[in-house]
Structures are given as structure tokens and as C-alpha cells.
């Protein structure tokens, strides 16, 4: 057998393998059909359809159905991605935090990519008592800091949740704001202040 025919044989095997993968994915997990059915629009590129490991697992399972071994792996892996603030300071400005929590734009094809992304916290959570237009997909965060106090453990837990929610609850519905670079470090600190600052509207 010559070297080139090995190459051809190898290519044919790879092709067969990839066809089989596509067929398998198509049945329960439709990655190939997704690729065929979308087109890039402005900053929403086709790469966004490709799942990372957590997304793939959490498509197949929910928090309740995820096998314990997988859950542990997701949690461990997610935890290792969490970067604490470089200067060790967790709390920024709660007023800026409130604005980030109110802002629902960012990363949609229709959004201005030169503007900072929002956190859109009120879409899912109750925060300040004065804001009645809050969603209920996530738990109420009213009096978050008042109930917990600014202990190192409470600050670290909240930072972890904001940075990569999968480190706390595998297959959580909450976006991984730090890990996915939706919000930058300063924005995360401002949200932390919204949650913990005694003068924040959340704690009134």
C-alpha cells in the first residue's frame, strides 16, 4: 500500500465518521440542522450556534435530571473559570449597578455593539422594591445583602453566582455573565454593590 492510498482511506473513514455524527446529532441534538437554518447577522455570528460542553449537557439534561457524576464535573469545571476581582475588592457603585440591572440590551443582532452590555437582572429577578416591573424566572433578590451581611463567604458566593452560575447550580438557567464576557469586572462589582451596599435600593 502506498502512502497516498492510506491518506485516501483515512479521509474516507473520517468522512463516514463525521456523517454518522451529523446523523446522530440531528436526531435528538440538532446541531447540524441549526447550522443549516441560521445566517450570521451583525455581531450575532454563526459561531454562537456551536455549543460548549456545559451547553450540550444542559440541552440533554436539566438541573433535576443531570446525572450526579456529570453535575460534579460541570460544577468543578465552572468553578475553575471563576476569576476573583484583581484588587480583591468585590463592591463597586450600586447606582451604576442599578442601571446595569435595568438594561436589557447587549449582544443581540439589533443592539449597538459600541454600547456596554446590560445585565437585564430585572427580566428575571425582583430587586429594588420600587421597581414593580420585575420577572419571576429567578428568585427574588430583595434585601439580598441585608439578609446575609457582607461576610467574605457571602461576597464570594454572590461573585461566583454572577461570574459563572453553573459553579453553583449545574444547568442553571442564569447566564454566565463573567465566564461568557457578557459583563466586565467593573460591571460585576457594580452589581455586587447593588446586592450588598446598605444604601442600595435592594436593601431598603
Amino acid at each position: 500500500m502506498t502512502v497516498s492510498s492510506v491518506g485516501v482511506l483515512l479521509a474516507a473513514t473520517l468522512l463516514a465518521a463525521s456523517l454518522q455524527t451529523v446523523a446522530e446529532e440531528d436526531a435528538p441534538y440538532p446541531a447540524a440542522a441549526m447550522q443549516r437554518s441560521f445566517e450570521a447577522k451583525k455581531q450575532a455570528g454563526m459561531d454562537r450556534l456551536t455549543q460548549d460542553e456545559v451547553q450540550a449537557l444542559c440541552t440533554r439534561y436539566t438541573t433535576a435530571t443531570l446525572p450526579p457524576a456529570e453535575a460534579e464535573r460541570v460544577q468543578k469545571q465552572s468553578l475553575s473559570s471563576v476569576k476573583p476581582p484583581a484588587d480583591g475588592q468585590y463592591l463597586g457603585d450600586f447606582k451604576r449597578g442599578e442601571k446595569i440591572a435595568q438594561t436589557g440590551t447587549g449582544l443581540q443582532s439589533s443592539d449597538d455593539p459600541t454600547k456596554p452590555n446590560g445585565g437585564n437582572c430585572y427580566a428575571c429577578h425582583q430587586l429594588a422594591a420600587s421597581e414593580l416591573a420585575y420577572g419571576t424566572l429567578g428568585p427574588s433578590l430583595q434585601h439580598y445583602g441585608k439578609l446575609r451581611g457582607q461576610t467574605p463567604a457571602a461576597l464570594e458566593a454572590a461573585w461566583r453566582k454572577l461570574y459563572n452560575s453553573q459553579a453553583d447550580v449545574p444547568c442553571s438557567n442564569m447566564p454566565r455573565f463573567g465566564h461568557q464576557k457578557i459583563l466586565d469586572e467593573q460591571q460585576l462589582k457594580d452589581l455586587m454593590a447593588l446586592l450588598f451596599d446598605p444604601n442600595s435600593p435592594v436593601n431598603q
Binding site: A44, L107, Y122, G135
Partner: protein
């Protein structure tokens, strides 16, 4: 203009023009009440009728290179039958060898019967003010002819079952920077985003509530919106790229929703906030 009429006119204008602004800052119950009040004021009237009327005229008008109308268009119940046609869509069509929803089937009729090029017909898929969509008008006309009919999707053809399976899988597909899937917002009962109540679309109850009222006139946009628009805009909010019109995912999700809503009685075009 007498005083009583003036008061009534003012009421009508207030309700139709500024109601949503007022509703947005109130608590959720009063917003729901205000939208219910708005619907009640219209009674049987719905601005979607303006689209229906335009669609009816388009249906009967001889147009395109073939100078033909659409009266021979087969939407699954035989040529020219529109009563009840929307209640059994999407479905597999032998002539195209594809599962088609109402919108893609209308494209087939317009291109094959009238000879109008697909791209010309689809130049305005979704209307915006002065830019009006012929597709949306025809859609509204056909949909209205299924009012009161129960959704019936037997999925007899394997391609119909495959479309359903694909839609079901896509519903849970998490992707993009925010890790969102359809199921993130529409997978649990009794939830809402801000004040907007979210139907649980993987249950018969929730799917019926939503599907039987689409397409719908969106008060906040002043436009009739089709199911293809609804799906495309959901994916925009999921931060994913743009869903292609008539793509297998668009048809699959529509099939999944329609089948899940099976038995629900169509009341579309509806009125939405």
C-alpha cells in the same frame, strides 16, 4: 361634536394610543386588565382585519407573469380550499416533497401559479409601516378562515414526525453567549419576564394559549405579526444569529408548537400587547 361623543372619542384615543405607556409602570395585574379592556373595546374588531382585507383582494387578483389569481392554491385540503386549511398546517406536500407551514406554502402557490419570483414576493417578509408585506396579508386572510377550527396534526408522514422531533429538540437547545434555549423562558408554568407573562410551550395548555392566537396584531408595533416573525424575533432575543425564513428549524418548531397545541381551537389572528 357633542360632549358625550367627545368624551368617547378621547377615551378611544387614549386607550388605543397611550394605554401601554400607562400600563408599563403599573403592577402586573392592572397591565393585564388594561390589555383585556383594550381587547374588549375592539369587540369583534381587530386591526388584523385590515391585513385580511388586503389578503383577500390579493388572493383573487390576477397577478404576475402568468396573470393568475391564487384560487387554485392547494393548502392541503384541495385546490382553493381555505376554510380550515390553517388548522392542519404544517404538513407534508407531495408536489414539493417538503413539510411546509402556511407561509412557505403560500410562496409555493405564488411562484408556481402566478410565476412571481420567490425573491420578489419575499422582498418584504415582515411589514414595517409604509413597507407592506403581501405575504403577511395573505397569511392573515387564510388564517382567519380557520377561526373556530380545532388544530389537527396526525403526523402520518414520516417527514412530519421528523419535523416535530427536530422542533422538540431545538426547543431545548442551549447556545449563544447567554446559554438561552426556548425552554429557558417557556419551559415552566406561571413565569414572566418583567411583566410579560410567558406561556409554557411544552404543555398542551400553554401551547394552545399561544398558538391559537398567532398570527396576531401587535398593538405596541401596529403590525400584524406572523409565526415566522415570532420565531425569528425569539432567536434574536436569545442572542443567536438570524433564523432563516422557511428553514427546517422554523418549520420544525412550528410543527412542535402546533402538535403540542393540538385540539386547541384557533382564534387567530389575535390581538397582543
Amino acid at each position: 361634536m357633542n360632549t358625550r361623543f367627545a368624551a368617547r372619542l378621547l377615551y378611544t384615543m387614549l386607550a388605543s394610543g397611550t394605554l401601554l405607556l400607562a400600563g408599563a409602570v403599573r403592577a402586573d395585574t392592572s397591565t393585564q386588565d388594561a390589555i383585556a379592556e383594550y381587547r374588549e373595546m375592539f369587540g369583534d374588531d381587530n386591526p388584523a382585519e385590515l391585513w385580511q382585507a388586503r389578503g383577500e383582494a390579493l388572493w383573487h387578483e390576477a397577478r404576475g407573469p402568468q396573470k393568475a389569481n391564487l384560487e387554485a392554491c392547494d393548502l392541503g385540503l384541495g385546490p382553493g380550499v381555505i376554510a380550515g386549511a390553517y388548522a392542519q398546517l404544517p404538513r407534508w406536500f407531495a408536489d414539493t416533497g417538503q413539510v411546509q407551514d402556511l407561509e412557505t406554502r403560500l410562496v409555493t402557490c405564488v411562484t408556481s401559479l402566478q410565476g412571481i419570483p420567490r425573491d420578489d414576493f419575499l422582498k418584504v417578509k415582515f411589514g414595517d409601516g409604509e413597507k407592506k408585506s403581501e405575504l403577511e396579508a395573505l397569511t392573515a386572510y387564510v388564517v382567519a378562515a380557520s377561526r373556530g377550527k380545532p388544530l389537527t396534526l396526525p403526523l402520518k408522514h414520516p417527514a412530519e414526525q421528523a419535523a416535530f422531533d427536530l422542533g422538540k429538540a431545538v426547543f431545548r437547545y442551549r447556545a449563544g453567549p447567554h446559554d438561552f434555549a426556548c425552554a429557558t423562558c417557556h419551559g415552566e408554568p406561571g413565569k414572566r419576564i418583567r411583566l410579560q407573562e410567558l406561556p409554557q410551550l411544552n404543555t398542551a395548555l400553554g401551547a394552545r394559549e399561544a398558538y391559537t392566537h398567532w398570527p396576531a396584531y401587535r398593538i405596541s408595533q401596529g403590525e400584524l405579526r406572523s409565526m415566522e416573525w415570532r420565531l425569528q424575533d425569539c432567536f434574536r432575543q436569545q442572542r443567536l444569529p438570524q433564523l432563516k425564513f422557511g428553514s427546517e428549524v422554523a418549520i420544525g418548531l412550528t410543527m412542535y408548537l402546533a402538535k403540542t397545541a393540538e385540539g386547541g381551537v384557533l382564534a387567530a389572528p389575535g390581538i397582543k400587547r
